[in-house]
Symmetry: C2
Subunit: 352 residues, 2 copies
């Protein structure tokens, strides 16, 4: 009972076996494995042949233990199941894989405590580095990292020497809203989630600024900040369209919400309502009319973040990687819904 044999693992060849076969010492074999200096080409070749013939693979655990780091990058996102983060994760994985790193992926479920636990555990694992979508700017501290390089994604994290790769939330929200205003809309509804994330705040801020600069009143009844899933988004859409002075355009703050807004508009038969979605999504360019979006591409953020992290990892000089906030260019993709003109207002009609 004490010695229940959990199905015997078949041990692979070790570096010792390689060394023995090549007729050299363990250390020399190690040098060849790591492209170390001072190895004669004859020796190097002998060892390489031995590795080949045994189909030797180094043991990551042993390496990690001794060397203090390994070829794994930890990735912490809100949820792997979320459309945005799943794309982000997929891209991170492919970029890091190309650089010889594997990914340890975990979901924080937006809980700060869980996020910190996960990061600590990744650090304990001697991950080469971590990539985190922080729930709050200060959710992760330098102490949690214990020197492990980190790059934040999607939201800014405050850790000395760390980079944060984000899109320009206020700026792009500003542009999206201005785009709607430019098509004559004065009643632009804002759909946003209720969370107090910097991302969310930034987008709300951009919306407000665009209205203000255009001299349009910021109407509280048009700002709907309780949309946490598709169905609540649908409900809010109905409400802003049913107002006495109804919305004629909608700015949806996330692709998740847009997944509720689009069906809602279709269901109500209101394809005359303008819409810009912050965040592209699968069906955006196949629905009719196609949805105008701000593309803050998960792919591009992931690509940039992965490269930023790699610059902090060996063989690069870890002190010279990028630092601070990196804004990934986002762009407005006009596809149809954003270009729907506002109907003439009663005032305009009477004035004419």
């Amino acid at each position: 009972m004490t010695s229940l044999t959990p199905r015997r693992r078949v041990p692979g060849p070790t570096l010792r076996d390689v060394a023995a076969l090549a007729g050299v010492s363990l250390k020399t074999a190690s040098r060849v494995l790591n492209d170390g200096p001072n190895v004669s080409s004859a020796t190097r070749q002998a060892v390489q042949e031995a590795m080949e013939s045994l189909s030797y693979e180094p043991d990551p655990a042993a390496r990690s233990l001794r060397a203090g780091h390994d070829r794994t990058v930890g990735v912490v996102v809100d949820s792997v199941g979320d459309i945005f983060f799943s794309e982000l994760a997929a891209t991170l994985e492919s970029v890091l894989d190309a650089a010889g790193y594997s990914c340890l992926l975990a979901s924080s479920n937006r809980q700060e405590g869980r996020e910190r636990d996960i990061v600590r555990s990744l650090v304990r694992r001697r991950c080469a580095g971590v990539i985190v979508a922080p729930t709050t700017p200060a959710s992760i501290s330098a102490a949690d990292l214990a020197g492990t390089p980190v790059v934040f994604v999607d939201r800014v994290g405050h850790v000395e020497g760390a980079a944060s790769v984000v899109s320009d939330d206020p700026g792009m929200a500003f542009e999206a809203t201005r785009h709607l205003l430019a098509h004559g809309h004065r009643r632009v509804a804002l759909l946003s989630d209720s969370l107090d994330l910097p991302t969310t705040r930034g987008r709300q801020e951009g919306y407000r600024r665009a209205l203000t600069e255009a001299g349009v009143e910021v109407a509280p009844e048009l700002m709907r900040m309780e949309c946490d899933d598709e169905s609540s988004a649908m409900r809010q859409v109905r409400e802003v369209l049913d107002l006495a002075d109804p919305a004629t355009a909608i700015f949806s703050c996330s692709s998740r919400l847009s997944l509720g807004v689009v069906p809602a508009l279709h269901q109500f038969g209101r394809t005359d309502v303008a819409l810009v979605s912050f965040g592209d999504f699968t069906m955006a360019d196949s629905v009719q009319p196609a949805v105008t979006v701000v593309d803050h591409s998960a792919r591009r953020i992931a690509q940039t973040a992965a490269e930023a992290l790699l610059a902090h990892l060996p063989p690069h000089d870890p002190t010279h990687g990028p630092t601070g906030v990196i804004e990934v260019p986002a762009r407005l993709i006009p596809r149809g819904t954003g270009e729907i003109a506002a109907p003439p207002t009663p005032q305009q009609m009477s004035r004419a």
Copy 2:
């Protein structure tokens, strides 16, 4: 240059420190850590207090190296970015996390070679177990696993003693098709991807069998097996609707394709066409009419697979976990599109 210090890692407390503080030997501390037998309660408590006060955390690498296994489960899916697999992965992660395992997630991108490489690398890492969506039934062999417990998901994998958690593809496809036939349809189009996966084949088979049993001709021009993304699905929808003897119902073999079919039908204004989707998706019950789906819930498959794997892992007896093909019950969820009746055919009309 040789000794470039990659930002000094701060080493955490080791078990040795704990032992020293508690005034016991390293081994005794280890015994407490692992709930080993034969430790006096006084000693146990002293060690636990020492661990507490140092906030000690065991080192997974060292543990893995010495014990030959660790608390990590490798997960290999087609792509983390795919809607189905991202949900699958999210659920696996949460179930395994609750059992104290972390996940190492990787995408095979449906390449058999890459899949095998990933699995081998996971095995080398001494993962406690792996969960794989195999590209082919024989893509992974017992030799690749070297004794590591495995559970296959979504598709059947052939490895002695391994469980495969799948939904009843032929059966549910049969039922979906029969559902459409029961509403009077005789021209039911099949939309499927071109891959030669058992899953795909099973669904095609169920479709054929339903038609045959109902005495309906299996029409080649209605079987569209070249749909590999949303846009090709849209194209195929147009084509089957434009036939001289057009389709009146569509059976879409995957949620990914349905994401193209639904917008296509909306765009063509053909909400009179019946549709059943194999696989639920976010917008399915919010579009109008809502989409009837076969729910082969990623969540349920993941849950079952995680439990099957856990049963093969310590502290359970690894030889007594479930084995063979486990079919997760799927169910047809009628929501609207599947219940649209067929228009009377010319034959029926003239006969009347």
